[in-house]
């Protein structure tokens, strides 16, 4: 995903001279190197200085630029939180904060590198929009949206490398602020966002093998959440499953539960999130997710 992001942003920057990228200690490789080589003035590496990364982006935006801040997800929001809130949120500036390797993708680097609460933290800030595309193709659309919008700040939650594509045959097109059906069924609806979509697709296959008709939805715009779309999903299926690599508080699951209560939804509702606990064990991303109850067998145990 990070290469697809860099490639897309490089293309956008070649069209739009307002685009700048401010990175915090990221070594440019592949398409990011192309950006730096072709637009050296618009590629800024502030080093290990995330507060300056956000502050500079605010200053650039105040002068009419369209800046992107980019580093490992955990360092984009937590360290410079007040700059994100005051400089970007309060002033409502069109800056995109790109959180790369969100969730527990950095599975062997320990809890300091896990991004488990970013959706809650970013969503809590007025004016902030939150986008989490589920595959590289959707990331291209999301990046292009961010490269031209002038409405305000966006937190763009992305993966790292090797993510498969799910949306090339999607039922719906990408539209900011709308949930997107990748496939449409009648019995079960699985809602997910970001790279955890891989698990959602596997669960869908297993349920289909048991004779269920399954919808899979990319809720790529977590804020503003497509409330009518979520209501329709709750009312249009017997069973709704939410899967996210995020703590229970302030993510998609809690929002969907809230909406389900508001509309007195009749469907069964199952939510799978990371626990409200830091992760002290190591292994692959799948190992860490499984330790918190997110694996295809564990999900099927609950829902099948």
């Amino acid at each position: 995903m990070r290469n697809m992001f860099s490639q897309t942003l490089f293309e956008c920057a070649s069209e739009n001279p307002d685009i700048y990228i401010v990175v915090a200690d990221i070594s440019p490789a592949g398409p990011m190197m192309d950006f730096q080589t072709n637009h050296p003035d618009r590629f800024i590496n502030v080093g290990v200085a995330e507060q300056t990364m956000i502050g500079m982006c605010a200053g650039l935006a105040l002068k009419g630029c369209q800046p992107f801040a980019y580093t490992i997800a955990t360092f984009t929001l937590y360290r410079p939180f007040e700059m994100v809130r005051d400089d970007l949120g309060y002033q409502n500036l069109p800056v995109t904060i790109v959180g790369m390797g969100a969730g527990v993708i950095y599975s062997t680097l320990g809890g300091t590198h896990h991004t488990m609460e970013d959706v809650a933290v970013a969503s809590a800030i007025p004016n902030m929009r939150v986008l989490a595309p589920c595959d590289p193709a959707e990331l291209v659309e999301a990046t292009r949206y961010c490269a031209y919008q002038k409405e305000g700040p966006v937190y763009l939650r992305i993966g790292k490398a090797g993510e498969p594509t799910f949306t090339d045959t999607a039922v719906d097109k990408f539209e900011f602020g709308k949930i997107r059906y990748i496939q449409k069924g009648t019995d079960v609806c699985i809602l997910a966002y970001g790279t955890i979509m891989a698990k959602a697709m596997e669960v869908a296959k297993e349920l289909e093998a048991k004779g269920k008709s399954v919808s899979v939805v990319s809720a790529h715009t977590i804020k503003p959440l497509d409330r009518p779309g979520i209501e329709a999903a709750l009312n249009g299926h017997d069973q709704v499953i939410v899967i996210e690599d995020h703590v229970p508080e302030g993510g998609l699951s809690s929002r969907v539960k809230q909406i389900a209560w508001d509309v007195q939804a009749k469907c069964k509702l199952h939510t799978f999130t990371l626990k409200d606990e830091f992760i002290h064990n190591y292994g692959s991303q799948d190992d860490l997710l499984a330790a918190h109850g997110i694996s295809v067998p564990l999900i099927l145990e609950q829902v099948a």
Binding site: D41, A49, T52, L60, L62, K63, E82
Partner: protein, 280 residues
């Protein structure tokens, strides 16, 4: 609107303006209590000099406006009241705005809000101005518009790590169109900065070590502030360490911590006006 003065420095005019600013702030203390008087008085000559003598005018002769080339960002948000008075002087804000200060029908609060006339960034939380000023200066430089960004920080604010991050980055990027002032009044809230952080001194050498050009002046000498900026070499960001007195111009306020955020009573007010009128 008073015309912006360029190059020729008129000491008497600067003194008259600064007396007027201080008296207007004192006038406001008589109907609102939410005012940082002390810190506004220590920044008076600095902010006046920036707007009247350093920022270049736009096509309408005003240093604030759509096509005015330079930008002022008040990093020391609690010094906002002096910026407000300059914006009134320049016709950007009005007496009507002042009457609405901190009221439900007004747009002005205690700290600068982006979106209000003449306000280039929201501040109030310390340590944000240098990063934003750097981004602005870098945009001006790389887009060929070449405006100069002026910012005023408090000496307490320089304790923020974010200030030093951006200070280091400014010189690393070779941003020469950035001029930062420290309103060095040696006070922060209720304590003396020399007590809290004796290691902050000497200031000029620290900035030089960080790759800046740096100079120290009497922050109540408008001509000295002006000359410090005019005589810079211009190939590095510039830091002007302004030695100032909190509450400058009113004897009972000067360097007395409680005047950080307090309004004088009617008798104190009269005395303050008298002292400012009678000063040289």
């Amino acid at each position: 609107m008073t015309a912006t003065e360029q190059n020729a420095f008129d000491v008497a005019a600067a003194k008259d303006r600064c007396k007027r600013h201080r008296k207007r702030i004192l006038d406001m203390t008589q109907y609102v209590t939410a005012l940082h008087v002390g810190g506004a008085f220590s920044s008076t000559e600095i902010v006046d000099c920036i707007y009247y003598n350093l920022m270049r005018p736009g096509s309408n002769g005003n240093p604030v406006g759509d096509d005015a080339p330079d930008t002022f960002l008040m990093s020391k948000g609690h010094g906002y009241m002096i910026q407000v008075m300059l914006l009134v002087d320049l016709g950007i804000l009005t007496e009507e705005h002042l009457r609405g200060y901190c009221t439900p029908h007004g747009i002005l609060g205690v700290h600068p809000d982006y979106g209000n006339p003449g306000i280039e960034a929201s501040t109030g939380s310390l340590g944000h101005g240098m990063g934003m000023a750097l981004g602005m200066a870098y945009a001006e430089k790389t887009r060929g518009t070449n405006g100069t960004i002026y910012t005023v920080m408090s000496d307490g604010e320089v304790q923020e790590g974010s200030t030093w991050e951006a200070t280091l980055m400014a010189s690393s990027l070779g941003v020469s169109n950035l001029v930062a002032f420290i309103d060095n009044n040696n006070m922060q809230s209720a304590t003396f900065t020399t007590d809290t952080h004796p290691s902050f001194y000497p200031v000029v050498e620290k900035y030089e070590a960080f790759g800046w050009e740096a100079v120290e002046v009497d922050g109540h000498d408008s001509e000295a502030i002006f000359n410090a900026v005019q005589s810079r070499s211009g190939d590095k960001p510039l830091l002007v360490n302004c030695k100032t007195t909190k509450g400058k111009g009113v004897s009972y306020m000067e360097s007395v911590p409680m005047w950080h955020y307090r309004s004088p009573d009617p008798e104190e007010y009269k005395q303050a006006i008298r002292e400012i009128d009678e000063a040289n």
